[in-house]
């Protein structure tokens, strides 16, 4: 099957050429998105099939002639193949309709299939060279998509920042692989797996891998590019970058840490847990402060990556402590959340794209009341918001519940780091979940409820059929994932078995699709029961209301406090909704300030309120580094204007110095 998968990826890579036809953009759009849809669906099925199959390996005579390129399809790669191509198929279906609004389609169509193919290649590569090649291809193609609308203000800066961070991530991974390969210099994953470096080299490789994959996934403090770059791309590409590409980075982390490295030291798990917890809470706090719908979603991606990394950190901790069942539970929770986040974040970005297409705006304070104009979109987004806020019976609840189960499994690991970190992470996770709920109440309430805040929102039209079908499909996936979590947990069992040597007990054998991750005495969950209860209770309530109250309803002007026809500006805004949380949490963390300026008596000018907040990572992390680099570059600028003889002297002196070093230490 692996040759077929590779062939499919190659066709995907080539189908971008069809997007270059500027003469017939409609035909090009249909060809590119249609073929991507078909290929992604096929690849997703192949990934599912690979979950239960033994690993297959293939060597192709590509790249370096005498080394070749190795490819491997094992359960881990199969699971991520499924997630990536599910997201890819959704984005392609959505793009069939949404792509109509694209002002410069050739800038998107040419790179879109290549981006999908590159992500697939990362998952399939089984040597460092092919992996890094695919990784960089993924970065470059997604960068091209980020700067597709490069005339809009800020997008080019976002693209530049993204390119910088992608370079940093590639460099860190390059060095990590260099350490893993060891002195023999074999860059095949099989050789690295056999070599199992230990001690300082392994620890350094792990930290480099964490930096390299974290920079791509949006782990703090390397997340600053993500909320800039993800919203800049067209919406279905934003969905791919946020929902899928970050998962490819998670895959890379799992591949390196759990597969290639073997047993990392226990303190590494503490680092991952700390970063994951901080990322989850700070990400959602920043999401709460946003007014731009897509930026809010991008910050929420940072939060969810934090949750995934908490799960991975737990798995590392339990593994270092010799508890394979706990590790399998935590890993399953993390992977389940990977799938869930891919589904609901894609759905929410499709919804944001639909809102943008219908109203031309992503600013929540220019929206409102869309639930009357875009019925299906608003319902699908409501499902997505519920899922991302971890409400049962939707899928987001199950994975976060499983993560909590993993934390509660062993609150008393012997190492002091875990004694501090596990309870702290439990608290941070709970806080993040609560804040995420508040965040999405805000996002949904301000955008879809209330009255329209602008003419565009008041006259918005529901989007096309392709977009609606995609959103409905993904909303259904959110529900199905929450009702039948046992299917996913059982599907993930081979992955856990391949990486950790053990698996969770089979869930599908249990009656009434109950989920019992470890033991019934501890905890169990039945999504179907909750769903049936909610559905029955709601139906009965609706029935009762219609039976006894509907005939008594009469429509009349609302009581309006003596102000007839108040302006929509008197409603809650995005900022006013977030004000309590901003004051409590962000005042110290992000130095959020409000300045109210009242005009003096007699002055007819308006009163103003100004809100400011700053990003500590930017001000204390990125800005100083950028300053140092700038100063160093200015200092070194002198070197550009030397005489030829000086340059020759530099070459000569460098050569002599190196030779001296060889002579002295050789």
């Amino acid at each position: 099957m692996l040759p077929l998968v590779l062939a499919g990826t190659a066709v995907l890579l080539a189908s971008g050429l069809a997007g270059l036809r500027r003469a017939a953009p409609d035909a090009a759009r249909r060809i590119v998105y249609g073929s991507s849809l078909g290929l992604c669906a096929a690849l997703a099925l192949a990934g599912l099939a690979a979950l239960g199959a033994p690993p297959t390996v293939l060597r192709l005579p590509l790249f370096v002639p005498w080394v070749g390129a190795w490819f491997r399809l094992d359960p881990l790669a199969g699971f991520f193949l499924f997630v990536v191509n599910l997201g890819g198929a959704g984005a392609s279906l959505y793009g069939l309709g949404y792509g109509r609004h694209e002002p410069t389609p050739e800038r998107v169509l040419a790179f879109y299939p290549a981006f999908l193919a590159a992500m697939n290649l990362v998952l399939l590569a089984a040597d460092a060279f092919g992996f890094l090649f695919a990784w960089e291809l993924m970065s470059v193609t997604s960068w091209a998509l980020v700067v597709a609308h490069h005339h809009e203000p800020g997008n080019r800066r976002a693209g530049f920042l993204y390119l910088l961070m992608a370079t940093l991530s590639g460099l860190a991974l390059l060095l990590a692989f260099g350490l893993l390969a060891g002195p023999a210099g074999d860059y095949g994953f099989a050789a690295m797996r056999a070599a199992r470096p230990a001690g300082g080299a392994a620890a350094l490789a792990l930290l480099l891998a964490l930096a390299g994959t974290g920079a791509k996934a949006g782990l703090m403090p390397l997340h600053a590019w993500l909320p800039e770059a993800h919203p800049a791309a067209p919406s279905h590409v934003s969905a791919l970058m946020s929902g899928v590409m970050t998962k490819v980075a998670v895959y890379a982390f799992i591949r390196i840490v759990f597969d290639l490295l073997g047993g990392p030291p226990w303190w590494a798990a503490v680092v991952v847990l700390a970063l994951g917890g901080a990322t989850a809470v700070l990400g959602v706090l920043q999401a709460l402060l946003q007014r731009d719908l897509k930026r809010l979603l991008a910050y929420s991606t940072v939060e969810n990556i934090g949750i995934v990394f908490i799960g991975l950190g737990l798995a590392m901790a339990f593994r270092a402590d010799g508890d394979p069942i706990g590790a399998a539970l935590a890993l399953t929770a993390a992977l389940f959340h990977v799938f869930n986040h891919a589904v609901f974040k894609s759905l929410l970005f499709y919804g944001a794209g639909a809102v943008q297409a219908a109203t031309g705006s992503r600013d929540m304070d220019a929206l409102g009341g869309l639930i009357h104009r875009m019925r299906l979109t608003s319902f699908a987004v409501l499902v997505g918001c519920g899922a991302i806020s971890a409400l049962p019976p939707l899928n987001g609840f199950v994975s976060e519940w499983l993560t909590f189960q993993a934390i509660l499994l062993h609150p008393d690991l012997p190492q002091w780091g875990f004694k501090v970190m596990l309870p702290a992470d439990g608290a941070l996770l709970a806080l993040a979940a609560a804040l995420a709920a508040a965040c999405f109440v805000k996002a949904y309430g301000i955008t879809f409820l209330g009255r329209p805040r602008s003419q565009a929102a008041a006259t918005a039209m529901e989007v096309d059929g392709f977009s609606r079908a995609t959103m409905a499909g993904f909303a259904a996936l959110c529900l199905l994932g929450g009702i039948f979590p046992g299917v996913m947990i059982d599907a993930l069992a081979p992955v856990a078995h391949a990486l950790l040597g053990t698996r969770l007990p089979a869930q599908l054998a249990l009656p009434w699709v109950t989920v019992v991750p470890v033991a019934a005495a501890r905890s169990s969950y039945n999504g179907l029961l909750i769903f049936l209860f909610i559905a029955t209770a709601t139906s009965l309530t609706v029935l009762a209301i219609h039976r006894f109250a509907s005939h008594a309803v009469r429509r009349s002007p609302a009581w309006d406090c003596g102000f007839p026809d108040p302006s929509p500006a008197t409603q809650y805004t995005a900022d006013s909704f977030a004000q309590p949380i901003r004051r409590v949490f962000a005042a110290s963390l992000f130095r959020a300030r409000e300045v109210v300026t009242m005009p003096p008596p007699g002055d007819t000018g308006p009163a103003t309120i100004e809100k400011t907040f700053c990003d500590p990572f930017w001000d204390w992390g990125y800005a100083p580094v950028a300053g140092w680099i700038d100063r160093a570059a200015t200092t070194l600028n002198v070197l550009q204007f030397l005489t030829i003889r000086r340059y020759l002297s530099f070459v000569f002196l460098a050569l002599v110095t190196l030779l001296l070093a060889v002579a002295l230490w050789g």
Partner: protein, 220 residues
């Protein structure tokens, strides 16, 4: 191969280094070019001896190319250039001859010190050749660094190429194609540099590189 073959090869390589050192203290352009011709002559003799030692007839072609191009044609053309430019009387070294010579001797010692331990397993002839060739290359760089006149920089560049040729022919099995292409690239480089010399002269009325620096673009 007996001791005699090794001795001769060693002597020829040593002579090449000696010629390089001689170049370092020539303070007239014409004399410098004469030494360059001698340098190339020694190189072609060394290559021919390698051909005899290794029993590789294609190295004779290499030797012939070295003789024809490097020992006869290029020096002749350089002499013409010097005469045409009217610079055959001048030369200016940047550092004094004493320190330059000391530096050159130091470079020879350094390259022996570096190369001999590294190539301990290699064939003794190739070993000596490579070590001495590195010193020829380093001295060539030193010539380029210490001289100010464009013509003498060309001479330094050509002597570097001679050193590379020595190292390449010392090792067995270098294909003739490589040698021919290297020879031609040197020729092309020489032609380009020659044309540049005349253009520089036309434009700035001197071939002193110090004068060029005043015109380097974008100086702040």
């Amino acid at each position: 191969m007996g001791g005699f073959g090794f001795d001769v090869a060693h002597m020829l390589a040593g002579l090449l280094v000696l010629a390089s050192l001689t170049m370092l203290y020539q303070d007239r352009l014409v004399a410098l070019i004469n030494v360059l011709a001698a340098h190339a002559l020694i190189l072609s003799a060394s290559v021919a001896w390698q051909a005899h030692l290794q029993g590789a007839p294609d190295l004779y072609v290499t030797a012939a190319i070295a003789f024809g191009f490097k020992a006869v044609f290029i020096p002749w053309a350089l002499r013409r250039i010097v005469r045409e430019l009217g610079v055959h009387r001048e030369i200016e070294t940047v550092v004094g001859i004493g320190p330059t010579m000391l530096a050159g001797i130091g470079l020879v010692a350094l390259s022996l010190e570096v190369m001999l331990p590294v190539t301990a397993a290699a064939d003794p002839v190739a070993r000596q050749d490579i070590a001495l060739a590195l010193s020829v290359v380093l001295i060539g760089l030193l010539i380029m660094v210490t001289r100010r006149n464009a013509v003498s920089q060309v001479v330094g560049f050509l002597s570097i190429d001679n050193g590379i040729s020595l190292a390449a022919t010392g090792a067995r099995g270098m294909p003739l194609v490589v040698e021919i292409s290297v020879a031609f690239s040197v020729l092309v480089a020489f032609i380009v540099i020659g044309i540049f010399l005349f253009r520089i002269r036309e434009r700035f009325d001197t071939v002193d590189l110090g004068a060029l620096d005043e015109f380097s673009g974008e100086r702040q």
